[in-house]
C-alpha cells in the first residue's frame, strides 16, 4: 500500500502536513501583539515595543506559513479534495467577517431606531427629557443629549463617497475580467487587470484617508462625535482596514501571477482573494446606503 502510494503523484491522497511550526509562531505573535497593545493602553512604555515585536513576528509567520503552502501548492501536493477544503474554509471565514460587520451595522440600526428616539422622549418616555432637564430632540445625525464632541457636519453621500463607490464597483469588474483571463490562460490580460484592481483598491484607501482628514479638519466629525461619530468611524474604519488587507492579498497574488504561478484549473489563491474582494465591495455598498446616504 505504502509503496503504491509513493509511485503515484502525491496529489492522489489528501495531503496532511506532518508538522508545522507556524501555528505556534502565530500564537506567540498574537499574544505579544495584543499583550503589547494592552500594556500600551495601560500606559506602559514597553507596550509599543512589545506590540511591534509581536507584529513583526506575525508578518514573519504569514510569510512562512503562506510560503510553505505556496510551495506545496506549486509542488502539486494538493488534490481536488484539498482544494475544496480551502474553498469552503475561505467561504466560512468570509461569513464570519460578515457577522463581525453585522454587529456594527446592528449598533447603527439600534441607535437610529431605538436609543436616539427614546432619548428624545418618544412614546411613553416623555419623562426622560424632564428628568434630564434638557431639550434634546431626536434626530440623525446626532451626538446625543450631551452634545458629545461638539457640533459637526456629515460627509455628503454624493461627493467623495459616491466616487469611492464607483471605484470599488469598477474594481469588482476588473477582477472579474482578470478571473476570466486566468481561466482562459491569458496571462497578459490577467496581469494587467489584476494590477488595475490593486491600483483601484489603494486609490480607494487613499481617498478614504483624505475623507477622514477632511472630516477631522473641516467638519469637526471625529470618532468622539457621539454615536454618529462612533458608528461612522468604526464602520468605515474597519471596512477601510479590510480593503487594505484585501489589496495586500491581491498584491501577493499578483506577484505570484507575474512569477507564473497558477493554471487555468488550479488557482484557489486567486479565487479566494477575489471572493474576499467582492465581500469588501458588498460591505461598502451597505455602508454607502446606511452610513452615508440614508
Amino acid at each position: 500500500m505504502a509503496h503504491a502510494q509513493t509511485t503515484h503523484a502525491p496529489s492522489e491522497k489528501y495531503y496532511v502536513p506532518h508538522s508545522s511550526p507556524w501555528p505556534l509562531v502565530g500564537s506567540v505573535s498574537l499574544f505579544l501583539t495584543v499583550g503589547g497593545a494592552a500594556m500600551w493602553l495601560n500606559h506602559s512604555n514597553a507596550g509599543p515595543w512589545v506590540m511591534t515585536v509581536g507584529f513583526a513576528i506575525l508578518l514573519f509567520m504569514f510569510a512562512g506559513w503562506f510560503g510553505a503552502v505556496i510551495k506545496e501548492s506549486e509542488g502539486r501536493f494538493y488534490n481536488d479534495a484539498v482544494d475544496r477544503s480551502f474553498r469552503m474554509g475561505m467561504m466560512w471565514f468570509i461569513f464570519s467577517e460578515v457577522m463581525f460587520f453585522a454587529a456594527f451595522f446592528g449598533a447603527l440600526w439600534y441607535a437610529r431606531n431605538f436609543s436616539v428616539p427614546w432619548l428624545g422622549g418618544e412614546g411613553t418616555r416623555a419623562l426622560t427629557k424632564i428628568i434630564r432637564g434638557d431639550n434634546y430632540e431626536a434626530s440623525w445625525p446626532t451626538d446625543g443629549p450631551g452634545d458629545v464632541g461638539g457640533d459637526f457636519d456629515v460627509i455628503p453621500a454624493f461627493g467623495l463617497p459616491a466616487i469611492n463607490t464607483a471605484i470599488l464597483l469598477t474594481s469588482g469588474i476588473t477582477i472579474t475580467i482578470a478571473h476570466h483571463a486566468i481561466k482562459a490562460g491569458n496571462r497578459a490580460v490577467l496581469n494587467i487587470f489584476l494590477g488595475l484592481t490593486i491600483a483601484l483598491g489603494f486609490l480607494f484607501v487613499y481617498l478614504q484617508a483624505h475623507e477622514y482628514i477632511e472630516a477631522y479638519q473641516h467638519y469637526n466629525l471625529k470618532l468622539t462625535s457621539g454615536i454618529y461619530g462612533s458608528t461612522f468611524f468604526m464602520l468605515t474604519g474597519f471596512h477601510g482596514f479590510h480593503v487594505t488587507m484585501g489589496a495586500i492579498m491581491l498584491a501577493v497574488v499578483w506577484f505570484r501571477c507575474l512569477k507564473g504561478h497558477f493554471t487555468p484549473t488550479h488557482h484557489f489563491a486567486f479565487e479566494g482573494v477575489a471572493w474576499y474582494w467582492h465581500f469588501v465591495d458588498v460591505v461598502w455598498l451597505g455602508l454607502f446606503v446606511f452610513v452615508y446616504w440614508l
Partner: protein, 531 residues
C-alpha cells in the same frame, strides 16, 4: 528551515508514519488525535482552575457574614469562574472531542485543515495566560460579571484591555475550530455517507459549528465597542452621546444565547451516541433528532432578550421573546422523548457512560424546566438575578454539558488509549458526582425563590441553611473530580486491553469501532465504504 519541514513531509508520508518524537509532537502537531488530546487536557486543567474559583465562592458563602475574601475579590471570582469554565473548560473539551471523533466517525484521515487546527488550539493557552494574568495587575481581575455589561465593566482597572483581547483570541480560536469542523464534515466524509447517515454526534457538531461562526464575531464586535468606549472616546454605550448601555446587552446576548446551545448541542450528540449503545437498540427517531437540533439552533437566534426582561423593553418585545423561548421546549421535548423511547423496552446495562447519560437525561431536563419558568416574563421579574437563575444554568451546564463530557470520556477513553479503565472507580465517581451535584445546586432553587440575589458575598441569615448545604455539595463535587483524573491517568498508563468494539456486549454503532483501539496514527488512510 520551516519551509523544508512542511514540504519535506509530503515525501515520506506513509501509512506507517508515527508521531514525532519529543515535545515537537505537541507544539507543532497537525494530527487530529494529538490536537484533540491537547484540547481535552487543557480543558481538564481549566476545569480545575475554574472549579477552585467556584470553591472560593462557596467557601465564602458557607456561612452568612464576611469571612474569607473581600467583596471585590469575590466578584472577581464569580466573573473569572464563568469565563474560565465557559471558554476554557466546556468549549475546548467539546472541540477536543470533535477533533478526536469527527475524522473517526466520518471515515477521514484527519481534519481538513490540520495546520489551522493546531493554531486554534495553541492560541488558547496564551489567551488564558492573559485572562488569568488579570488577577495580578493593578485593579485586579474583571469583576463585573462574565457578561461585561457597561457601565460597570468600564470600571475595571488595568485588566480591562487584557480581558477584551483575551476574548478576541478565544473568539479567533473558536472560529478557526468551527471552520475546520464544517469543512471536515462537508468535504471529508467517506463515500456513501450521505448527510442523513452521519453519526448524530457529527450532526450536532456541524450545527454547533455554524452557530459558532455566526456569533463569535458578534462577541468580538461587542467587546471591541467596549474597548473603544473606554479608551478612544466612542459612545456606543453612553446615553450622553446618543448610545445606550442596553444596546450592549442586546449585542452581547445575540452572541450569548446561541453560545449556551454551543455548549449543549454537542452534549446532545454524545448522549444520543451512548444511550443506543447500552440500550441495545438503534436511536429512536434519528431524523427527528437531526431536525430538532437544527430547530433549536435556529430558535437560539431569536430568543436573546429573555436574558434582559427587567432592563426595560417594549411589551411587544417581551411577548415575542417569551413565546419564542417557550417554543424551544418543543424540539427539546422531542429529544428527551426520543432518548426515553430509545431506552424503552431496551436491554439496558449500566456502564459508566450510560450512568452519566441517564443522569444527564434527568438532570438536564430539570434545568430545562426551570428555564421554562424563567421564560415567563412576569415570573422572571421575580426570579431575575436570583439564585434561581444560578441553579437553572448550573443544572444545564454541570449535570448537562459537563456530565455529557464525562460520559464521552468514559465512552471513548478505551478507544483512545487502547485500555479499559477501572469500572468500579468510574462508577464511584459517577455516584459521588451525581449525588453531590444535586446537593450543590438543588438548594439554590429554594434560595432563589426565597429571594437571595446572585453575585453577592454575604446574605441574610434566613438563607444560611441551604447555603451551607450547597457549599458542602460543592466541596464534595469538587473533590470527587480528583477521582475522575485518577481514572483517566490510570487508563492512559495501562490497563486491560480494550477490543476494537470496546463495548462488546453493547451495541456500539459507527466507523470508529471498526478501527483498532487505539486507532492508527492517521485514522482512515483509505476511505471506508458506507452502505
Amino acid at each position: 528551515m520551516a519551509h523544508a519541514h512542511d514540504a519535506h513531509a509530503a515525501h515520506d508520508h506513509h501509512d506507517d508514519h508515527g508521531p514525532a518524537k519529543g515535545i515537537g509532537r505537541w507544539l507543532f502537531a497537525t494530527n487530529h488525535k494529538d490536537i484533540g488530546t491537547l484540547y481535552m487536557l487543557f480543558s481538564l486543567l481549566m476545569f480545575f482552575v475554574g472549579g477552585t474559583m467556584a470553591l472560593v465562592i462557596r467557601a465564602e458563602l458557607f456561612q452568612p457574614g464576611m469571612q474569607l475574601v473581600d467583596p471585590m475579590f469575590f466578584n472577581q471570582m464569580t466573573t473569572m469562574h464563568a469565563l474560565i469554565m465557559i471558554f476554557g473548560a466546556v468549549m475546548p473539551a467539546f472541540v477536543g472531542l470533535a477533533n478526536w471523533m469527527i475524522p473517526l466517525q466520518v471515515g477521514a484521515p484527519d481534519m481538513a485543515l490540520p495546520r489551522m487546527n493546531n493554531f486554534s488550539f495553541w492560541i488558547l493557552p496564551f489567551a488564558f495566560t492573559m485572562l488569568i494574568g488579570t488577577l495580578f495587575v493593578p485593579g485586579g481581575a474583571p469583576a463585573g460579571g462574565w457578561t461585561m455589561y457597561p457601565p460597570l465593566s468600564q470600571q475595571t482597572g488595568e485588566a480591562f484591555p487584557m480581558l477584551i483581547f483575551a476574548v478576541h483570541l478565544m473568539g479567533a480560536s473558536s472560529i478557526m475550530g468551527a471552520i475546520n469542523v464544517i469543512v471536515t464534515i462537508m468535504n471529508m466524509r467517506a463515500p456513501g455517507m450521505s448527510l442523513l447517515k452521519m453519526p448524530i454526534f457529527v450532526w450536532t457538531w456541524l450545527i454547533t459549528a455554524y452557530l459558532l461562526i455566526a456569533v463569535m464575531p458578534v462577541l468580538a464586535g461587542a467587546v471591541t465597542m467596549l474597548l473603544t468606549d473606554h479608551y478612544f472616546g466612542t459612545t456606543f454605550f453612553e446615553a450622553a452621546g446618543g448610545g445606550d448601555p442596553v444596546m450592549f446587552q442586546h449585542i452581547f446576548w445575540f452572541f450569548g444565547h446561541p453560545e449556551v446551545y454551543i455548549m449543549i448541542l454537542p452534549a446532545f450528540g454524545i448522549v444520543s451516541e451512548i444511550i443506543p449503545t447500552f440500550s441495545r437498540k438503534p436511536l429512536f427517531g434519528y431524523d427527528a433528532m437531526v431536525y430538532a437540533t437544527a430547530s433549536i439552533a435556529f430558535l437560539s437566534f431569536i430568543v436573546w432578550a429573555h436574558h434582559m426582561f427587567t432592563v426595560g423593553m417594549p411589551l411587544a418585545g417581551q411577548m415575542f421573546f417569551m413565546l419564542a423561548t417557550m417554543l424551544i421546549a418543543v424540539p427539546t421535548g422531542v429529544k428527551v422523548f426520543n432518548w426515553t423511547a430509545t431506552m424503552f423496552k431496551g436491554s439496558i446495562s449500566f456502564e459508566p457512560p450510560m450512568l452519566f447519560a441517564i443522569s444527564f437525561l434527568f438532570l438536564f431536563t430539570i434545568g430545562g424546566f426551570s428555564g421554562l419558568m424563567l421564560a415567563i416574563v412576569p415570573a422572571d421579574f421575580q426570579y431575575h438575578d436570583t439564585y434561581f437563575v444560578v441553579a437553572h444554568f448550573h443544572y444545564v451546564l454541570v449535570p448537562g454539558a459537563v456530565f455529557s463530557l464525562m460520559a464521552a470520556a468514559y465512552y471513548w477513553l478505551p478507544k483512545w488509549t487502547g485500555h479499559m479503565y477501572n469500572m468500579k472507580l468510574a462508577k464511584a465517581h459517577f455516584w459521588l458526582s451525581t449525588i453531590f451535584v444535586n446537593v450543590l445546586f438543588f438548594p439554590q432553587h429554594f434560595l432563589g425563590l426565597a429571594g437571595m440575589p446572585r453575585r453577592i458575598p454575604d446574605y441574610s441569615t434566613q438563607f444560611a441553611d441551604w447555603n451551607m448545604i450547597s457549599s458542602i455539595g460543592a466541596f464534595g463535587f469538587g473533590l470527587s473530580q480528583l477521582l475522575f483524573v485518577y481514572v483517566i491517568v490510570a487508563c492512559i498508563r495501562g490497563g486491560e486491553k480494550a477490543s476494537d468494539k470496546v463495548w462488546d456486549s453493547g451495541r456500539p454503532h459507527g466507523l470508529e469501532w471498526t478501527l483498532s483501539s487505539p486507532p492508527p496514527y492517521h485514522s482512515f488512510e483509505t476511505a471506508p465504504e458506507v452502505k
